[in-house]
């Protein structure tokens, strides 16, 4: 075991982690611990853009953006946080441009902007061009630009270090424990401030746009250390994943004029969202797609998907604005999007919930108190700027605005604070987990349990949910957790043991799936991405509040989920009926 000391430790090197690192490295001695080489992070998969009311191509202002964000989140958004995000969006985009990001440009040489789902002019009047983009690889360009600037600022990365535990001593942050994939060695990082920026948890679902590596590692570590997870029942299903594969096809495709069609060729979104049509928010579009499929209007031999139709757009426009996603269609489906519509279905995409923080990125231990020295930003966190449903592009905005804020806040905290003493045997828990898995003689396989988890989550906890399906999910997860205790791996070695890594990741997914299902079962209403067929309307009296889920450990070691609730921060906008 090695022990390291840094002022600030950042966990994760996607957009939020690297944006934080650029700030914190300039202010404090910083280490970034990342499971993947930084440029492998899933920020790079984001395509369509990053919204900011630059008003480069038409009238816009940040207040409209704030309204759209609050409405898009079905009034579960903390409005003070949304206001900060939408105001700071403008500088966040300009900062990236100054760092070198090659945005697509207007005729005048300014940053170009395009339409995106749920983003409107003057509180829902009509779609607005707000999304700043770099063709359909905006996330790739953000990830590259942030990595380039990390190189420029000499950010110290520990690549392929997997953080498995958070050390808290007497209520204050003391550091983290990491597993070095190359050697199997355990490293303790003592730190004055820790920033979690480890991304999402989409791999609990089968059809997902998420990378294999998105297994909720940060959320699971926090949960097991007694911290709450906020609003985990809200998971976004992106309307346009490649059928069966789940690979993302950007909403920018509809921003450029793409249309969703059923088997009759009908532009069905006109019926569900008369004003915004195909650019309604993602939860609305995903439900509409499944409604069409259930009504027998799905496409293909089994009627289990619909089409994203780009065939009416000029090939030059597709080549210039949507080169990557058209190539995905060619590579993975063997079709030509100039002339063929693309088979799509909703795909598990984004966790609105996560580790609760305030607007400085400080992590909450409960509804009111923070853990000194602990920060979170990006998809791992819940500020909450996305509420019950995130608007397209607001994730790239979130990582830049709150990544920056968390990086500054963490470094400033580290600057004025001392080290908290490490607990006795700081790596004890991690060593027990690793040794337990490596030495297990069990009979269960990681891949089989993961497959069953993903199938149950797709069947029971996706776009449409009922009390019965969620109870089924809770039952399934409990059984799988029991079987997980008897899991064994084949690779017993120390070097690059990805067999072991996958087993640890599965443990994380199981814990987080349980939180999702239990939180969703208790929320007897429909709001944003959480739709209950048995409670199809929003209930602002009972449920306009955030879920706070805690893992409780009984004396015999068994765990259960305890739910609490936290008020929503409302400033400007009272809840209204949500129409697009």
């Amino acid at each position: 075991m090695q022990i390291h000391q840094y002022d600030t430790v950042i966990v994760g090197a996607g957009g939020a982690g690297m944006r934080a690192a650029i700030e914190s490295t300039q202010r404090s001695r910083t280490a970034v611990l990342t499971k993947l080489y930084p440029t492998r992070s899933h920020t790079g998969a984001a395509q369509g853009g990053m919204c900011a009311a630059l008003a480069n191509v038409e009238e816009d202002n940040w207040e409209w953006h704030t309204f759209d964000t609050v409405k898009g989140g079905d009034y579960l958004v903390d409005q003070d946080a949304a206001e900060i995000m939408c105001k700071e969006a403008i500088d966040a985009v300009l900062d990236l441009e100054k760092m070198g990001l090659p945005f697509s440009r207007t005729e005048q040489g300014r940053i170009d902007q395009r339409r995106f789902g749920g983003h409107s002019r003057n509180h829902g009047e009509a779609p607005v061009r707000r999304s700043c983009y770099a063709a359909d690889r905006t996330g790739h360009m953000i990830l590259q630009t942030l990595f380039q600037n990390c190189v420029k600022h000499g950010v110290e990365f520990f690549n392929e270090f997997y953080v498995l535990d958070l050390l808290i001593n007497e209520g204050k942050t003391a550091g983290v424990v990491a597993y070095e994939l190359a050697t199997g060695e355990i490293h303790v990082f003592q730190a004055k401030a820790v920033v979690f920026a480890s991304g999402g948890t989409g791999k609990m679902f089968k059809v997902t746009s998420n990378a294999h590596t998105l297994t909720g590692d940060g959320q699971a570590v926090a949960l097991r250390r007694g911290l709450p997870l906020e609003d985990m029942e809200f998971f976004q299903f992106h309307p346009t994943g490649i059928w069966r594969m789940g690979i993302l096809l950007t909403e920018g495709a509809r921003g450029e004029g793409g249309i969703l069609r059923n088997k009759d060729g009908e532009r069905f979104m006109e019926r569900y969202a008369p004003v915004m049509k195909d650019l309604a928010s993602r939860d609305v579009c995903s439900r509409a797609i499944y409604s069409e499929i259930r009504a027998g209007r799905g496409c293909g031999p089994d009627g289990d998907h619909v089409y994203l139709d780009l065939t009416h757009l000029p090939p030059e426009q597709l080549d210039a604005k949507l080169p990557d996603i058209t190539e995905f269609a060619r590579t993975y489906l063997g079709i030509e999007p100039y002339t063929d519509p693309i088979p799509i279905q909703p795909t598990a995409h984004y966790a609105m919930g996560g580790i609760p923080t305030n607007v400085e990125g400080e992590v909450l231990a409960n509804n009111t108190d923070i853990i000194p020295g602990l920060y979170a930003a990006g998809e791992v966190a819940c500020v909450s700027v996305h509420g019950a449903n995130r608007l397209g592009t607001n994730s790239l905005l979130d990582i830049n605005v709150f990544g920056r804020r968390a990086g500054i806040a963490a470094a400033e905290y580290a600057d004025k604070s001392g080290y908290v003493e490490l607990p006795a045997n700081p790596a004890e828990k991690v060593e027990a987990m690793i040794d337990g898995l490596r030495e297990s003689t069990g009979t269960e396989s990681v891949a089989q349990i993961r497959k069953e988890l993903q199938e149950s989550m797709d069947a029971n906890a996706s776009v449409y949910r009922t009390g019965d399906t969620l109870k089924q999910a809770v039952t399934d997860i409990a059984a799988l957790k029991e079987r997980y205790k008897n899991v064994a791996i084949q690779d017993k070695g120390m070097r690059y043991n990805t067999d072991l890594l996958e087993a640890v990741e599965l443990g994380n997914l199981l814990d987080l799936a349980e939180v999702l299902a239990v939180s969703a079962l208790a929320r007897e209403e429909s709001r944003g991405g959480h739709y209950r067929e048995d409670f199809p309307t929003r209930d602002d009296v009972k449920f306009m509040q955030h879920t706070m889920a805690y893992q409780e450990v009984a004396a015999d070691g068994t765990t259960s989920i305890r739910l609490d609730y936290k008020p929503v921060v409302t400033t400007r906008y009272q809840p209204m009926e949500r129409k697009y």
């Binding site: 088997k263 063997g334 396989s445 084949q490 690059y496």
Partner: protein, 257 residues
């Protein structure tokens, strides 16, 4: 706007939507190496039932999840944008997640091995640090002089287009590890680093092209390139890598960029 699309169905779309698919038996012949167990690499065959439309990465996952958990490789996004899974498949550098089984002659064993020119650490995992060091050496970040504008720097669509191709790089190392000069000479920057230098040299906003060109004018710089086009063929992003290297060479001669 509601033109029915059903009449436009092509044979390709019908094939893409076809429900049940015929599984075929595939042999994956993987070059395994684990210095914890054996000093030398060995080729191991795995028989699998696969849908030919699946990816080579799906086949590797199937081996790892169902047959041999010790098989080790890097992967993340699984659709060609994170750059984790560059490997030699049937002797050619490709991303396993962007290569479909049907396209690599599955009637014969499909060979899979680590990319060349970087030390193999275990199975398909290589040491990427030298690769990233070469990248860092070309100063891969925007360098500007003078005051920062309040708003964005202006850049025309044409100026932006000038370096568009090289912004696509995902740092997968498929190009660099396909280069015979790189195999034989550990000092050469390699195509990927030059691609990333190109991305800034030809960016109208950048003021450090001269510095980068001097770095690449070095003995181990662009002049080592023998224009074999392996890199362009290997690039999973379709970047015209050799062309970018030629443009950097030309800029060194003409000092115009």
């Amino acid at each position: 706007m509601s033109t029915p699309t059903v009449e436009k169905h092509s044979a390709a779309l019908d094939a893409a939507e076809a429900g049940g698919t015929e599984l075929i038996t595939v042999t994956l012949r993987i070059r395994r190496f684990n210095p914890e167990e054996h000093a030398d690499p060995v080729w191991v065959d795995y028989q699998l039932e696969m849908d030919p439309k699946e990816r080579v990465l799906d086949a590797l996952n199937k081996v790892k999840w169902e047959q041999d958990g010790t098989l080790t490789y890097r992967r993340s996004c699984a659709h060609g944008i994170c750059g984790s899974d560059a490997m030699r498949i049937n002797g050619r550098n490709r991303l396993a997640c962007k290569t479909l089984i049907k396209d690599v002659n599955p009637e014969k064993p499909i060979t899979v091995e680590a990319i060349k020119g970087l030390a193999v650490l275990k199975d398909l995992i290589v040491d990427m640090d030298p690769f990233f060091q070469a990248y860092k050496d070309v100063m891969p970040f925007l360098i500007t002089e003078g005051n920062q504008p309040t708003r964005e720097r202006l850049q025309s669509a044409e100026e932006r287009e000038r370096f568009d191709d090289t912004t696509k790089c995902i740092l997968c190392a498929a190009c660099t590890s396909s280069c015979p000069v790189f195999w034989n000479d550990g000092q050469y920057f390699g195509p990927a680093a030059i691609v990333n230098a190109h991305r800034f040299i030809f960016d109208s906003r950048d003021d450090a092209a001269e510095q980068r060109l001097e770095i690449l004018n070095d003995r181990e710089g662009v002049w080592r390139c023998r224009t074999t086009f392996n890199c362009s063929e290997a690039c999973p992003r379709g970047i015209e890598v050799t062309k970018a290297i030629q443009e950097v060479k030309r800029a060194l001669v003409t000092r115009r960029f």
